[in-house]
Symmetry: C2
Subunit: 248 residues, 2 copies
């Protein structure tokens, strides 16, 4: 028995998210599992570091799987990519210690969110950013981000109510103007359901002046979804990297 770690890149536009579903074949996990079964000839479960929502992209999703024996990684990866549609690619395959699990062993995650602030949406990046044609006050957004960075109860920043704990740590939020686009980066221990998109919606409302920066702090304290901002659409969001302890 051998455990492998996979680095997976995907364009989420055509898919209903990571998680395998009975009602649809259009999930990343379902398609990856089918591709592995095609290559190995046996059913294999693939565990992602987390479940990205429908339409969310990944530049560096991580997944783990257990195969009955050792395989030649480069060749296996190439066969896997041949069996996969061109908008899902396995970039790396690494033999790891048995017991490794992409979700349970994840120590941190980095997400990116892209905003297109042009008056008209850019035709060529329309699936990879949120078109939000408003002048944004970046210093005000950075001030609000300052309140969100750190270890907090993010109960007000999720749309799922049954988490064991809603306490998370955000190490950093970067807001960067790139010509007519804005790139936001979120780095933390992990994120709740919809959390990055609600953080983004909240910061955007601060950017337009609809909310004052302190209202981000108030939304944290209130722990109430009503106080946070809108749910920014999936298309602008990328899972950029998943971190593990060394040697994993």
């Amino acid at each position: 028995m051998r455990t492998y770690k996979l680095k997976v890149v995907y364009d989420g536009s055509r898919y209903q998210g990571w998680q395998r579903q009975k009602s649809t074949e259009r999930t990343i996990q379902g398609i990856l599992e089918r591709a592995v079964s095609e290559v190995t000839g046996r059913e294999t479960e693939i565990n992602g570091s987390g479940r990205t929502d429908g339409g969310v992209h990944a530049k560096g999703q991580t997944a783990s799987m257990v195969l009955p024996g050792k395989v030649e990684e480069t060749g296996f990866c190439a066969s896997l990519n041949e069996a996969l549609p061109e908008d899902i690619r396995v970039k790396e395959m690494t033999l790891v210690k048995n017991g490794f699990h992409a979700r349970f062993n994840a120590k941190g995650k980095r997400y990116e969110y892209f905003i297109d602030t042009r008056e008209k949406p850019d035709v060529f990046t329309r699936k990879y950013c949120f078109h939000y044609p408003y002048e944004l006050n970046i210093p005000a957004m950075e001030e609000a981000a300052g309140y969100l960075i750190g270890t907090h109860d993010f109960a007000g920043f999720t749309d799922k109510k049954d988490e064991i704990t809603t306490i998370r740590t955000i190490y950093d939020i970067i807001i960067e103007k790139q010509d007519t686009k804005i790139r936001m980066e979120y780095y933390g221990t992990g994120f709740l359901y919809h959390m990055v998109r609600i953080l983004t919606g909240t910061l955007l409302e601060v950017g337009t002046g609809e909310k004052r920066p302190e209202e981000a702090a108030a939304a944290l304290e209130a722990g109430n979804r009503e106080y946070a901002g809108f749910l920014a659409p999936a298309r602008g969001l990328f899972l950029k990297e998943v971190y593990y302890n060394k040697g994993r």
Copy 2:
């Protein structure tokens, strides 16, 4: 009667090219004409500066149309974009002198071609560049480009045999390395059927060393398609801008 000039941007991935066809509804011209008819309530012909092939993109295609009377451009443009799919956008609409024709009055055109030289194709730009994972000798390509710039008979650089004249002028060819991508720009009076893609294929063969730079000159002199390089795929090509005389 009023004549309007349109600047049109499109992602050509889903379409069978510019030109209206009876056999398919998936043409840019056909869809634009239908959108204008929806807005005006009458059939309208739209003339492009040229016919881009299936899969070719445009950042600045130009088209002309005649409407029975004056319209308010901003509002008309907005209605047009509402009637259009999101991968075709009318960016500008300008009232021009009657008699203006986007194709017959065009004085020059600029095209861009993008190459992805990474080992594995980039998931997020796969529809907008040609994946060609080879080390390219840019100085050799520039030397070959030097032979192609100028006024020449490009009979060897087209796949259509019945042109009135195959003489064209290329003002400039720029070859630029951008990280793992290569951008090629072609600026000239006009280009024959498949010409930009054959020029690109020729320069790429020089880049890999399959052809010597002087063979580009030999292909020009021979006037024979066999001597020029392969037809680079449509997905990497963008019509960037069309030029007219001032006041047009």
